[in-house]
Amino acid sequence: MYKILVCDDDEAILESVCIYLKNEGYEILTAKDGVEALEIIKNNELHCLILDIMMPRLDGLKTTIIIREKYNFPIILLSAKSEDTDKITGLSFGADDYVTKPFNPLELVARVKSQIRRYSTLGSMQKSANTLVTGGLELNRDSKIVTVDGDEVKLTAREFNILEYLMLNMGKVLSSTQIYETVWNEVAFHTEKTVTVHIRNIREKIEINPKEPKYLKVVWGLGYKIDKI
């Protein structure tokens, strides 16, 4: 039984999140604000924390900072702020994921699952030298196996090559022409669409929400990249 603390000042949200997570079989604790949450954390061993940012008394960001001084369980921030800067701030303060309101409850559940899986099983796993990792995404170049939060994902050879190329150049933006010329090993000519279709397919396979990709990001007008998480 994993223990999850949900912390939000809005009771309706709190309750609905609890319902979804209880349905998945987690043990749920609730808190109304950061102070309460800190109190609970002190007395319980948690596996995941869902934390709203805008709360009275102690807000989510401050709470995150305090928690990260002692604990390393995953924290998923919930916020009505949808700007990129807000997300970046939240993640850099030590949160592991960021979900904007209004969210799809199932997506939240999926993200919680993913975080718990990573936290409980993968944290100590030995990684071979030929494995490329970013966050929960792992690509083994020898066995040609790709896993997301431990679950194996089935990719075609082309898709694997594209993902491998992107992960080898982690953090770099690669244009579809570059990707085509490397993967297909041909001179690219009006082939961007081909690459784009493959990228979309990869995203649908490895991302929880392909519209808001976590790993394979589109750099509009330039290309694609995978960031080191």
Binding site: A80, K81, P102, R200, G223
Partner: protein
């Protein structure tokens, strides 16, 4: 002489005068009459006789006059001595001893000695003088000449003398006294002295008379035409007529046309002109005791050696040969010249083979200068002519006269010719100018000069006006006293400078001058320091205004004007700061408002979505309830999208977004967007046709914002395209911009203008049947504009076309 012979008046008057009325004859006769007067007075013998006869009477009279005068002088000196006696006069003691007081005076000195006004006794000579004055009268003063030694009264001696002027011919005698030491001379000595002088005068006068007499006689002897017969008062007869007796001469006289007789019966003469009569009377009327007969011999022509006959023949020649013919010739010439003049006026200015009138070189010359030169040269010639004519007329020299007669007419003719030529030159020039229809005044130097002067004048006037307007300005914020301060400064300076000048140059007052100089220096130093302070404060204000700081003066004692300036600057600055703060505050509030609203909207919406989903998963038997739950869930999702779009629209339209622009490949971006949308679009039964260009156009824009624009357009195309139609997408370069163009066929008729479409909450389908909130195009347009681009929409029937125009380079 003959000047009047050529006179216009005489030619064209009533009569031509005869020779005896002419000026020349009249002048000659006048001189000759004076010679006759001279010889009729008499020769040297008669003069000597007159002197001898009058000798005693004259000398006696002169001596009487002299002695009387002398006595008067002595009396005056004595009077002076007594009246002006002064004790301090240093010569008294000395001269008093030297004076020998004569008997008649001492006999009367029994009375008490005289004293002056202070009671001191008078010097003896003064005492004596006083007594003489009291007792004497008239010539008696002469006896006391010794009393009035000059040294007794004055430092310098006066010597009285006299001169005697006498002229028996004119009957006068003048004695002038001066500087003659004649006090001690007796009456007889004086008489002898005067007598000797009288004889001296006598001899001189006789000599003069003699020379005059013979000179006149000499002149008269050379005259043949003028006959004279004179019997002087001594009975001597003088004549130039041979074998003539008095009666015989008188007969010849009266037969002559011009005669003058003066005898015991009075003054008789021929019918002379009034002028002539006056001259004859002047010359001869005062001759007494003589008989004078003068006449002009009628036989002028045969006495060729005579001046009269020479003049007469010249005059007659003139009359005979010149006068009449000249008049005729003159009239004919005048007519001819008139005719030629008219002809000249007609032809001047016309050149061969030309119709119009051409100007000569001289016509370009300023016309007024032309007139002046012409008039000037004529005036100069006239002046020279008149000058030499006068010279010739006034000269008595025979040679000059003859020269005048010979060359006079030629010179006059030449003169008129030259004048005429100058005049002709000028009049033809004028005629040419007028004929060439040029304005005569156009070329005038005067006009040009006047124009220039008036232009300069205008400029000067405007300049003065401009500078005077400085004085009309009334200070608005400066103290009015600044005017008085300035005036005071200049007047005090002027007064000080003036006083320094006066004290050093006119009144030599070194101390005052130094004080004035010191005052001047001190005053100016104080003024300069005050002015510097003013400018330092002004500079502080300007500096503060440049640095947007408020001005704080520690010293409150600054001029009102600067105070106003400083406080105004501070007020302005504060107002500006307030405005900026308000703007910043407003902006923050707006951002906060958006954030808060989004939070407050999103939080309940999250619950709505979650619970509708939970409800959906509940075990509900009622199908209707399930349907309702589905509707709630769908609408809440739709509401979520609407809120997201609304927040974004408000952010974008308020410019509350950050644009991180880089160079993007528009082609790549388009493909990425198409890749996002193609599955859904193809699901709707539409097809995207993208014509990829040879060279990919680049844009300078924010990738995610541009993606938002394109995705909004594609999502519109997805929503509103008619089933089975194709969506055409193309990218290309246009001038300095890159263009993304999308065309689709609307499933509904587009009864709306492209402008309206970009308004918020406006949708192409009025029925609002499709999902969509009418914000997509508005957001897209705002984002385009934020990135220095534009969104152009056009509707052609069912064809909907959108053009995203973005700059290729950073601006």
């Amino acid at each position: 002489m003959a000047s009047e012979i050529y006179g216009f008046e005489e030619y064209f008057g009533n009569t031509i005068p005869d020779f005896y009325s002419s000026q020349g004859f009249y002048t000659k006769l006048t001189t000759d009459l004076y010679h006759i007067r001279e010889i009729s007075i008499g020769n040297a013998d008669t003069v000597a006789n007159v002197f001898e006869e009058n000798k005693d009477a004259v000398v006696d009279a002169v001596v009487d006059v002299y002695l009387n005068k002398k006595a008067e002088i002595i009396k005056n000196e004595l009077t002076y001595a007594v009246e002006n006696y002064d004790e301090s006069y240093f010569n008294y003691e000395y001269t008093a001893d030297a004076v020998d007081i004569p008997e008649p005076v001492t006999s009367q000195t029994n009375s008490e000695p005289l004293t002056d006004k202070n009671g001191n006794p008078m010097p003896r000579n003064v005492e004596a003088a006083k007594k003489v004055l009291e007792s004497c009268e008239g010539l008696e003063f002469l006896d006391y000449s010794a009393l009035v030694r000059q040294s007794a009264f004055t430092e310098t001696e006066f010597h009285y003398s006299y001169t005697l002027n006498m002229s028996p011919n004119y009957g006068y005698c003048i004695i002038n006294f001066s500087n003659y030491d004649g006090y001690n001379l007796g009456k007889n000595e004086i008489k002898t002295l005067f007598l000797s002088q009288y004889l001296d005068i006598n001899s001189t006068e006789v000599g003069n008379a003699e020379s005059h007499y013979y000179n006149s006689l000499d002149v008269l002897e050379n005259l043949n035409v003028l006959k004279y017969f004179i019997i002087d008062n001594s009975g001597n007869t003088l004549t130039n007529s041979e074998n003539a007796t008095e009666t015989k001469f008188i007969n010849s006289c009266t037969a002559s046309p011009v005669y003058i007789c003066l005898d015991e019966s009075g003054f008789r003469h021929s019918t002379l002109t009034e002028k002539m009569k006056n001259v004859a009377t002047d010359a001869l009327s005062d001759i007494k005791g003589s008989k004078i007969y003068v006449y002009i011999d009628d036989d002028l022509l045969y006495n060729t050696k005579d001046t009269y006959s020479f003049m007469y023949s010249a005059y007659m020649n003139m009359l005979d040969n010149t006068a009449t013919t000249t008049i005729t010739v003159a009239i004919v010439s005048l007519l001819l010249s008139l005719a030629f003049f008219i002809a000249l006026m007609c032809i001047c200015g016309h050149k061969k083979n030309t119709d119009c009138c051409s100007l000569a070189f001289i016509d370009k010359f300023p016309t007024d200068i032309h007139v002046l030169i012409s008039l000037g040269s004529i005036a100069f010639l006239t002046y020279i002519g008149i000058f030499y004519s006068i010279l010739a007329l006034e000269s008595t020299s025979e040679a000059y006269n003859k020269l005048y007669y010979i060359y006079g007419p030629t010179s006059i003719a030449t003169y008129f010719t030259i004048v005429f030529l100058i005049f002709t030159e000028w009049i033809t020039s004028t005629a040419r100018i007028i004929k060439s229809s040029q304005k005569y005044t156009a070329n005038m130097l005067t006009r040009k000069v006047f124009l220039i002067i008036s232009r300069i004048n205008k400029r000067i006037l405007s300049g003065i006006k401009k500078s005077l307007s400085v004085f009309r300005y009334k200070p608005k914020k400066m103290q009015k006293s600044i005017i008085w301060l300035t005036a005071g400064y200049f007047s005090i300076n002027s007064i000080l400078a003036l006083s320094i000048y006066i004290l050093t140059m006119h009144i030599y007052e070194p101390m005052l001058a130094i004080i004035a100089v010191v005052l001047f220096i001190v005053f100016n130093c104080v003024c300069i320091i005050m002015l510097s302070e003013y400018f330092i404060n002004l500079d502080k204000i300007i500096d503060a205004s440049c640095r947007h700081e408020s001005v704080n003066f520690n010293n409150k004692n600054i001029p009102q004007s600067l105070n106003i300036l400083a406080s105004n600057l501070t007020n302005t600055k504060e107002a500006l700061n307030e405005a900026i703060e308000k703007a910043v505050r407003d902006e923050q509030m707006k951002t906060e408002l958006i954030t808060n609203v989004s939070h407050d909207l999103k939080t309940p919406l999250t619950s709505l979505i979650s619970y509708s989903d939970l409800l959906n998963n509940c075990n509900i038997e009622d199908e209707t309830a399930k349907k309702y739950i589905g509707v709630i869930h769908n609408q809440s999702i739709k509401l979520k999208r609407l809120i997201e779009d609304l927040i974004e629209a408000s952010k974008v339209s308020s410019g509350n977004v950050t644009i991180n622009a880089t160079i993007l490949n528009l082609s790549e971006l388009t493909i990425q967007v198409i890749a996002e949308f193609s599955p859904e679009i193809e699901k709707n039964g539409n097809e995207i046709i993208f014509n990829e260009p040879e060279t990919a156009p680049s844009v300078f824009a924010d990738g995610s914002k541009t993606y938002r624009i394109l995705s909004n357009l594609l999502s519109n195309a997805k929503k509103y395209s008619a089933a089975g139609t194709r969506i055409y997408i193309s990218v290309y370069r246009e001038n300095n911009n890159s263009v993304f163009e999308i065309k689709n066929i609307s499933s509904e008729p587009l009864n709306i203008s492209p402008e309206e479409l970009t308004e918020r909450f406006v949708r192409g389908d009025k029925s609002r049947s499709k999902d969509g909130n009418g914000l997509g195009l508005s957001i897209a347009k705002d984002l385009c504009i934020l990135q220095n681009g534009n969104l152009e929409l056009s509707i052609d029937g069912d064809l909907f076309k959108a053009k995203v125009i973005l700059p290729t380079e950073e601006k």
